[in-house]
Symmetry: C2
Subunit: 341 residues, 2 copies
DNA sequence: CTGAAAGCGCTTACAG
DNA sequence: CTGAAAGCGCTTACAG
């Protein structure tokens, strides 16, 4: 066992009270006393038991994340970048992160457990998990929660989301300005809020340009290389194939480019591509040839900010914080060009 | 605040002792009593405070991982797959995972804190972090640690590693059998044990075939797309460029293929490629055209097994468990062919 | 500036 | 089969 406060205090001939105060930086401790305590603690390699501290203070100094072992296993690079962002804030604030791995369908239980067990001070959830959990009564707990992404069912949970609608509308407008009138979209899973918003963004841009929406040029699925590849092949088989493609991730765009290459179509001469770029370190748009025109948002920055929002909720005693919707700028590179026909 | 044991016991007219025993499945509780308790707990949404339980039992029911915010940010897909594996075991055993984000150089501190604070029952470390930490005296703590990868400095920590030497020797032999005599290698960072083992594996295969080792055909760096791209360009500029390439990851191989395409070299006709495949979900070898011949090992399975090893150490009261070295099979696909010259 | 004592919410010998 | 009580290792009013 590691040394305890009691032992440390005894070895110094001081009370636990004084030693505790010295260690925690309370002002009412004498300077020499503090120094003595700090040195002894250092020497004895003393570390306060977090369990005891939690029990005594009621504060856990940790953020909880619920992480599904099965769900979205193919989107892990994104999860990891998000986690990195959360970690940055956590490291700065000296917080731990408690990951609760769960099987699909058990998310609600895991959230309830984290919220009621005192393990963590706040919960950071992705909106799909929040949607999963909404009937569990976790909202009644008045436990601080912050979500990543717009919750589908309008829960009153503060969230941070990028402007998926505005971003994809902007991306589509860029293509329309280049003369494209048939625009395909390889999107995320249809039930996800972000995917719906992206479809609507494309639709709005088409509406404003007086172009009919073409549902048959849209595909949905998990954001993988394979989705990009297969969806593109299938879109190319439509009676009126598009001359431009919107891809919901760089990985999807890479899959699309493989399909285009197989069909002998060149980018951007025969097909323009705009990809959403989450700025995931593993998939820089420079991986593609030509480099991709992208809609940008840093998933990592979002994670860092969400952790801050959680801290604000904790600090304010659980008062709601304002949700944020981040703009999604367009970066034009080499994968978009004027339409030929 | 959530309901406490005390309140729950009072509402049932039972003692805390009995309620606690009923909840924890102790045998000496009457059947009807147990049922009553379980129902009441369910209704009150009771969850034992983990902090209190930890303090009382001394067991944390959690695994600690130290995770560097800055280091290897480009290898996140791998970290995430490893984490997924750890999570699988953790979910099955009902453990939490405590991630301690740290800045580079602060790993030792983070490990000591985790080990001495009672937050976790065991530590799962990657060998680079273990190497970082070896002077901190953490080994003296008799705290259960299990490492991923062979520790460089021969610490007596149980570890799980794949057979990097044997795998790359096998990969090189495959190329030699196809008639290749000049084999390039784009490897991980030179100071890492796995990278050294891979270089030695290639060297051993060359030695056995009576071919001189060519240091100038080897490059080291972080396992990124960019490394594969730039290293390959630079290897091609050597006076005697290779006819085959060993790549330390699929991502690196993708970068290499971009470089080859730019130089007008075809795979496998002009250049054979064998890539190490960590079976990271984000980078299936099918992403490449042609599909890559690979050396396979599942980083996810390794994570799951390492968590089990940690549990075995905990269960045995900290006794060391046997280290494991996993074989690395070769899967031949379309990126290797006979040498022309 | 320092200390004695209560309390955080559990578990678990010990006694019955 | 059930309960009263001690103890896990801290923090923090309260008193001096």
């Amino acid at each position: 066992m590691a040394t305890s406060l009691k032992e440390l205090a005894a070895s110094l001939g001081l009370s636990q009270t004084t030693v505790s105060r010295a260690l925690n930086g309370y002002p009412e401790v004498g300077e020499k006393t503090r120094r003595r305590v700090l040195e002894a603690a250092e020497r004895a390699n003393y570390r306060a038991s977090t369990a005891a501290r939690r029990l005594a203070t009621g504060r856990a100094n940790a953020l909880g994340l619920v992480f599904s072992t099965e769900r979205n296993i193919l989107e892990r690079p994104i999860v990891m970048d998000f986690l990195t962002g959360v970690s940055e804030t956590a490291a700065r604030e000296g917080l731990d992160i408690v990951l609760t791995p769960t099987r699909a369908g058990e998310e609600a239980d895991a959230c309830m457990r984290l919220a009621t067990s005192g393990l963590v001070d706040a919960l950071v959830l992705t909106s799909p998990i929040l949607d999963e959990v909404r009937t569990s009564g976790i909202a009644d707990l008045a436990f601080p929660i912050v979500a990543h992404g717009r919750p589908l069912h309008g829960q009153s949970v503060p969230y941070l989301s990028i402007d998926n609608f505005g971003g994809f509308k902007r991306g589509a407008q860029h293509l329309i300005e280049l003369g494209h009138r048939r625009i395909g979209l390889v999107n995320g899973e249809a039930r996800q809020a972000y995917a719906q918003d992206r479809t609507e963004g494309l639709g709005a841009a088409l509406d404003e340009a007086g172009i009919a929406r073409a549902q048959n040029l849209i595909r949905y699925g998990p954001l993988t290389f394979t989705l990009g590849y297969q969806s593109t092949l299938s879109i190319l088989d439509e009676p009126q194939p598009p001359t431009a493609l919107l891809a919901s991730s760089v990985l999807v765009a890479l899959g699309a480019m493989k399909a285009l290459a197989e069909r002998g179509l060149r980018v951007p001469q025969d097909m323009s591509i705009v990809a959403h770029d989450d700025e995931v370190a593993a998939f820089p748009p420079s991986m593609a040839t030509p480099q991709l025109t992208t809609l940008n948002s840093s998933i990592r920055a979002a994670g860092a900010r969400i952790a801050e929002m959680a801290l604000e909720r904790i600090a304010s005693g659980g008062a709601p914080v304002a949700s944020e919707v981040w703009p999604v700028p367009l970066t034009i590179r080499g994968s978009t060009a004027e339409a030929l026909d």
